[in-house]
């Protein structure tokens, strides 16, 4: 199976946003994103208020970006109930990104898996180095412990969001990925820090890493995902030829 380059699109009130360390610091028009050369697109609603207006705007942007696209789509941001999942399903989501950074309701996750299938759930965990973190604090709980707690309730994959690396272009946090690979067999998607094709190449070689997300890089450099794919393929990376 091929490894994936996933386009991560953060939407604040429906506007494509750039973040650094999880703080939104710049906004773009959606014309910046060419979805054709990704393997999957992930949309996260990062609006402070998850009200009807924010969902309507989210939906408009998603529909606009995916109009002529036949790619798998994952969505997340504020999922706490089956109603939240149903809303994203109607927006066109194939898979749901559920934040499991802090203690979550295991019964809820089990219910989602029962209704939608294990393969439709991606668990998202935010961290700073080896510790669980949020935008506001770094906890003392190790991410390996959290992954062990979640166990098989993680769905099909775990999305590791490095807050420390987010928006820095310094490269993905491979050390934390390796740490988790030692305690869990769950397939991992690494997010936060991609600054060049080598960062992706290195990450895709780590055990259990099945994909990486890229986001800010296309706003900050003249590189395109298309040129990266060529360079990764010529280095022998196990990605699909588009």
């Amino acid at each position: 199976m091929f490894k994936r380059i996933i386009g991560l699109v953060l939407l604040d009130q429906g506007v494509v946003s750039r973040t650094r360390n999880f703080h939104s610091d710049y906004q773009y028009t959606d014309e910046f994103i060419d979805t054709r050369f990704f393997d999957e697109i992930a949309f996260i609603n990062i609006s402070q208020n998850h009200n009807q207006e924010s969902y309507d705007k989210f939906r408009n942007t998603v529909e606009n970006l995916m109009r002529d696209s036949q790619l798998p789509v994952s969505m997340g941001g504020g999922i706490r109930s089956i109603d939240d999942i149903e809303r994203f399903r109607l927006f066109g989501a194939d898979r749901y990104i559920i934040n499991q950074t802090s203690i979550t309701n295991d019964q809820f996750i089990s219910r989602v898996i029962e209704i939608y299938g294990k393969s439709s759930v991606i668990s998202s965990i935010s961290h700073s180095g080896e510790f669980i973190a949020s935008r506001r604090y770094v906890s003392t709980q190790s991410i390996s412990d959290r992954v062990a707690e979640i166990g098989s309730n993680c769905g099909s994959e775990i999305l590791l969001n490095s807050i420390e690396r987010d928006g820095t272009l310094r490269g993905l946090d491979l050390e934390t990925a390796k740490l988790i690979s030692r305690v869990s067999k769950a397939p991992l998607i690494l997010s936060g820090g991609v600054g060049n094709a080598t960062h992706i190449d290195d990450a895709l070689k780590v055990n259990n890493v099945v994909g990486v997300t890229t986001s800010n890089i296309y706003h900050l450099t003249t590189t395109t995902v298309s040129s990266w794919r060529s360079s990764l393929l010529s280095n022998g990376a196990n990605i699909r030829l588009i």
Partner: protein, 183 residues
Amino acid sequence: MGVSVTPIDSASEVLSVRHLIIPGVGSFQTAMQHLKQNGFIESLKERCLKRKLPTLGICLGAQILLEEGHEGGISRGIGVFEGTVERSDIHLSTPESHTGWDTVEIVRNILGFKAHTRADFFFNHDYIFVPKETSEVYATVHHGGSFPVILKKYNTYAIQFHPEKSQTSGLSMIRAFLRSGNV
């Protein structure tokens, strides 16, 4: 694609539309319960087996076309194809979901794809087809072991991957389906 699409909500429409696509996300048992409650089972059987009208099941929509599914407990399927749908880890050497792009090997000519060629499609599933008739297998994939991913009987196609999420190769497969069965 130049076709008009109508979501259907009654069993009679199952027999009246020219081409029927059965998408599917969710679990086998829940999906079958919904179809049963709405009286779709018999009309689907008639459409696929007696009238032999063009029908395309995708992912769970394909799995329910087999006789029996094991997701959410053992339950009966529509039974267009003989065989069962079972957890992939019983048959394969990998315990993980089959999620992502993978290379499909075409065994027999199907929907515009020639036998002995390969193409990449997007998969997202934990359960696999275990058909009885190998002659109904038109394509396979290798993921911890080889397993069938396209079944065909008369004009009914059961496709485990998502052609609608697989860019150009998927689009060409759907176009070929929409051309199929036209007189």
